[in-house]
């Protein structure tokens, strides 16, 4: 049987002990490309993890008394679920009206997207990227509409946080010539602010559709 090697945050170790299906692999949309991608969903507390895979030629694993071909290494890292919600809100925006969330986050290709509706503090999250309305007569239900202006503000915060993290972690954002494999002990201070902004924008753009990435670049 195939075996996989996973790097997970320590605190997930006994997730599957707490609840039967404590940790689940789900196929959800890749918000940048619209295609499918694999995620890990922790049920309690609900938390979304993206899964990146380290893939390089000429690797394999010895796992206990067995050999596993491929040498893939899967890494699960927490991901802001708002990137996924945003994808659906933008799609629904074409209808130009306020809608209840459970009519927005539907996807017959990736039906597990309804898990996103169970996220704690969902309403707080949505305030970053939507206008909302409550309909007093009917059911006090909240209705949402994608707000480009709020979203760009939210993304700007993301870019700034990312820039700070790039600096703290001495990530080489300069010209590609210096391979990141050669970590210079002292960060090459020649990396200009501009490089950090472009690099951070590029990273964030891996999680949003192309069009929004262009808007963000202008913003």
């Amino acid at each position: 049987a195939r075996q996989h090697v996973f790097l997970l945050p320590e605190y997930l170790k006994d997730a599957s002990k707490k609840m039967k299906s404590g940790l689940m692999f789900v196929k959800l949309v890749n918000p940048c490309l619209g295609e499918g991608a694999l995620y890990l969903f922790n049920m309690c507390p609900q938390q979304l993890f993206e899964i990146k895979v380290f893939k390089e030629k000429h690797h394999s694993w010895f796992i206990n008394q067995s050999v596993q071909s491929g040498g893939l290494l899967h890494l699960a890292t927490p991901m802001d679920p708002l990137f996924l919600l945003l994808y659906y809100l933008q799609k629904a925006d074409k209808e130009g009206k306020f809608q209840p969330l459970d009519q927005v986050v539907v996807d017959d290709v990736f039906p597990d997207c309804i898990l996103l509706l169970k996220l704690p503090e969902l309403e707080k999250l949505l305030q970053h990227v939507t206008e909302e309305k409550v309909n007093p007569e009917i059911d006090k239900k909240k209705y949402y509409k994608y707000s480009k202006e709020k979203t760009l503000k939210w993304l700007e915060k993301k870019v700034n946080q990312t820039m700070a993290a790039l600096k703290t972690n001495h990530i080489n954002v300069g010209a590609r010539v210096q391979s990141s494999a050669f970590f210079s002990s002292h960060q090459v201070s020649s990396d200009k602010e501009e490089d950090y902004i472009c690099y951070a924008h590029g990273l964030i753009s891996d999680y949003i559709p192309k069009e929004l990435s262009d808007d963000l670049a202008k913003h």
Binding site: L33, K52, F54, K55
Partner: protein, 300 residues
């Protein structure tokens, strides 16, 4: 012969020697070089030197160290013991090259072949005798490869010594035959006491002579080939016999510098370098991920 160092770690090389007889530091000596285990696909190759004063060569001959090839294993053991007893005028030294050292040298990225290994080992042992203060006047060596090349090489190393490289030197010179006995005794002992680090299950040690054409040896190799790890390190992986069994029985393992198919096939047509028009290239992950060979997982 105390081979305990080798029994502790049999993956490298180890040098053994007798005490240097005092007389060998005063009188001009003859020194013979020979090896044992050059041909087998199993076990170490052992290089040995044996030396004694020129004036005592007849005494050495009297020990009946005739052409060692005619001696049985037990006769060699007895003669070696006798040489040890008469240690007041005979000295010896050995260099045991483990099968792992032979394999890794011959298969290394920079090839170090068996002849070069042999020549260097022989020269190393002669140098060792000189460093111990032995007054070496003449060296006799059983040839490996072309005698002329080998002779020239050794003579360059030791210009003040009269070097004779010849085939069948062990039948011509008693010091070479004595060296050959030392080498064979050592190799037999190492092979007999081989410690398999691989903790083999159902290990049978009936591997015959160890020579590639010995049916017992071939059967043993086929029985002990392991599809992922090849063989125990007792085997010389660089031997054709071993390699052909690996090619049949073992998994194909590719390394970064292994020649790949496209390397072999050669480059495609020149037009293959032109991009096919406006074909949309799949959007690549951000360079942060590319530089770390990371991509989004889509399936498990």
């Amino acid at each position: 012969m105390d081979l305990s160092e080798l029994e502790r770690d049999n993956t490298g090389r180890c040098r053994l020697n007798s005490p240097v007889p005092a007389v060998c530091r005063k009188a001009p000596c003859a020194l013979g070089v020979d090896e044992a285990g050059r041909g087998p696909v199993l076990g170490p190759m052992v290089y040995a030197i044996c030396y004694c004063p020129l004036s005592r060569l007849t005494d050495l001959e009297a020990l009946k160290v005739a052409d060692s090839k005619t001696l049985s294993e037990s006769e060699r053991d007895r003669l070696f013991a006798k040489m040890e007893e008469d240690g007041d005028f005979v000295g010896w030294a050995l260099d045991v090259l483990s099968p792992n050292l032979i394999s890794t040298s011959m298969l290394g990225r920079v090839k170090y072949n068996l002849n070069s290994m042999s020549h260097d080992t022989a020269a190393g042992l002669v140098q060792y005798a000189l460093d111990q203060g032995v007054k070496v006047a003449q060296v006799f060596v059983d040839t490996v490869g072309l005698p002329e090349t080998y002779q020239k090489r050794l003579q360059q190393c030791f210009p003040d010594i009269e070097v004779t490289v010849t085939a069948k030197a062990d039948a011509l010179y008693p010091v070479v035959s004595a060296a050959s006995i030392c080498a064979k005794v050592a190799r037999d002992q190492v092979v007999k006491n081989w410690q398999f680090v691989e903790k083999l299950q159902d290990l049978d040690i009936d591997y015959g002579s160890g020579y590639p054409n010995d049916p017992k040896t071939k059967a043993w190799l086929r029985k002990h080939v392991e599809p992922i790890f090849g063989f125990p390190q007792f085997v010389r992986f660089s031997w054709r016999t071993a390699q052909s069994i690996l090619e049949k029985e073992a998994e194909v393992v590719t390394w970064e510098d292994s020649p790949t198919e496209e390397d072999q096939v050669g480059h495609g047509k020149i037009t293959s370098y032109f991009n096919e028009g406006h074909r949309t290239r799949p959007r690549l992950p951000h360079r942060y991920f590319q530089e770390r060979s990371l991509e989004s997982a889509t399936t498990l």
